[in-house]
Symmetry: C2
Subunit: 367 residues, 2 copies
């Protein structure tokens, strides 16, 4: 279904906001429309802690029209009804006697309940949810609904599903355009990279944002390192420890360790079950509590397989390089001790397919 | 580089021809242009055994201009210079004193040599090869250069490169839109399907063209059946033997067998080496000699792996279904006894990526 014209305008305002600027808040756009159908107010939530979209739109409308009692407001997300960093938007809407509120997506936070507050004040509320609008805040919704980070798994593989040869060599399967996409888009839009000590010791990556030879930025890094290998002296020269001033590294092992590797490196303990497998929910809750809302997994087939099997992921981004390994002992994209029949195969939802130079990029979402 | 305007017109004429109508000939288009730059003749080779494109274009031009001595002819393929089903086109061009011939692709057949014949007659020849024009006759060029059929391998797999679960179940990995594409495009544009007795006994396919419930057409079938299993009585009810009136089945085993399964089933012998592996060049030469110019391989990972490893394929068409098997004992897309490092991985050339409902279709070409 076509999006309503006014909602489309509010959506465009929300879409222009960089999610990173407002995180952990959602991106929101709002439009005030007067009796004759003219748009008289526009607003977006621009930065965490500052005014919400509704406030900007109403203030904008008031410049040309002091009485908004015949107006409608279109807002991409249900208005808040609680005191947070700012007063509730429902209060402002009620105060200006706005006639009707059209909402593009519900807020999963039970504290919000803007719809019922507005309805109790006698305001007409129309809920017209749209998948593109929900998509804008996919990270926010996962955060709110599950109290854990949005998890994006990135893998680069050959046509026959191998991420490394039998010796573990994986440099480089994907091409330059794909690697640039990882730096400029995937790493850039997430709060941190999640990897494992195994991958880091094997590949010695920098895990930074490299936009060009001269434009290199830091990125937070989370490492699963059950046996605390990385804090051993022989690994202190690893690239991940270099060139870090404002970013941090959170290393998770199976016990508290009082080692000091560098100022920006923190060692934490997390739970592993008796078979040595990471207890996923506790780990991800801990990351969420540390302020990680959106995580990019760049690790091997073991972690990817565990996350896949246990449904602890939201999106999967695969780069397929135009090559065939044809070696059954090469490393498969997902390691699993699972015995699966076709009817039990995990089904994903396709989001997009695109070509990056000679590679194909497929994006899938968990159902 | 942009294609010349006149060559583009000749290309469009060639492109409008169905390759199946002219096979084993190539598709060709020709345009006659007079002194003032006006197109006065158009022609295409429309059906095997009938006039070539140049003949149609020149006859078309003669209707409005009896003297073609100042004209140029643009032809997508080097004109023939030998007597085949029709007299040589070079003779006709020379006879009409055509000033200049522009050629969009060379003919690999050494008997053709139209360029040198024309040059010896004092005609200016410009060779302006274009990849789109060469693409039109990709099958013809492989046939001519290697004296074997053009081999297109089709596979349907999960995201993690599995074509069946550990029990061999593969129905259905790809979705309806992909299967419709196989029937309407891949099977339709090829001369025959090549499969194996193993696949046929396991899946019991019809191997026909099913456009709809009421539009079902036959397709020639070639089967590798080393031990002549298919001619045993217990397999006489297989679907491949049903509903065949005008199509044929060629079964290749390791020895001559005098069994009569049905009128349209022929049993042949072909070479297998001492390890039981098919000797590919002899087999494909035999298919080519039987008139198979374009073959679609629909088999399992063993045949696909053998063809891939030995470079006996021209294109690979993969349908990726949005599911993950995550079972290391599921059937991989390519079976191989190969031990391969990343640097030795076989590199393919990407042709296209497209979305078919929830599946992704990737087409690659051998370098």
């Amino acid at each position: 279904m076509e999006m309503n014209h006014y909602m489309r305008a509010a959506y465009e305002l929300a879409k222009a906001v960089n999610p990173v600027d407002v995180r952990p808040n959602p991106v929101v756009g709002a439009i005030v429309v007067c009796e004759n159908g003219k748009i008289i107010g526009k607003g977006a939530h621009l930065r965490y802690g500052q005014e919400h979209a509704e406030v900007h739109a109403i203030n904008d409308a008031l410049k040309s029209k002091p009485d908004l009692s015949g107006c409608c407001i279109y807002v991409t997300l249900e208005p808040c009804s609680h005191y947070g960093k700012t007063p509730p938007c429902t209060e402002l809407i009620i105060q200006h006697n706005i006639k009707k509120v059209v909402i593009g997506s519900r807020d999963p936070n039970p504290k919000v309940s803007g719809v019922s507050v507005l309805q109790r004040a006698g305001i007409e509320v129309v809920i017209d949810e749209d998948s593109s609008i929900i998509e804008l805040n996919k990270v926010f919704f996962i955060n709110q609904n599950f109290q854990r980070p949005f998890v994006l798994i990135k893998m680069a593989m050959t046509i026959d599903g191998k991420i490394a040869d039998r010796n573990g060599t994986s440099k480089w399967i994907s091409g330059e355009a794909s690697r640039a996409y990882v730096h400029r888009i995937l790493r850039s839009e997430t709060d941190a990279i999640l990897s494992t000590a195994h991958t880091i010791i094997k590949d010695n990556p920098f895990f930074n944002l490299r936009y060009s030879k001269d434009e290199i930025f830091e990125k937070n890094l989370i490492v699963l390192d059950r046996n605390h290998q990385l804090i051993k002296n022989k690994f202190s020269d690893l690239n991940i420890f270099k060139y870090r001033s404002y970013s941090r590294i959170d290393i998770y092992g199976d016990s508290d360790q009082k080692a000091t590797v560098a100022n920006n490196v923190c060692i934490h303990s997390t739970h592993f079950d008796q078979n040595g497998n990471l207890v996923l929910d506790k780990f991800f809750t801990s990351l969420y509590e540390r302020g990680y809302n959106h995580i990019l997994v760049e690790a091997g087939s073991k972690l990817a397989g565990t996350l896949m099997k246990n449904n602890f992921f939201d999106e999967l981004c695969i780069f397929i390089a135009p090559m065939v390994m044809a070696d059954e002992n090469a490393v498969p994209i997902f390691h699993s001790d699972h015995i699966g029949l076709l009817e039990e195969a995990k089904r994903l939802q396709m989001v997009s397919i695109s070509q990056l130079d000679h590679d194909c990029m497929l994006r899938y979402r968990r159902y």
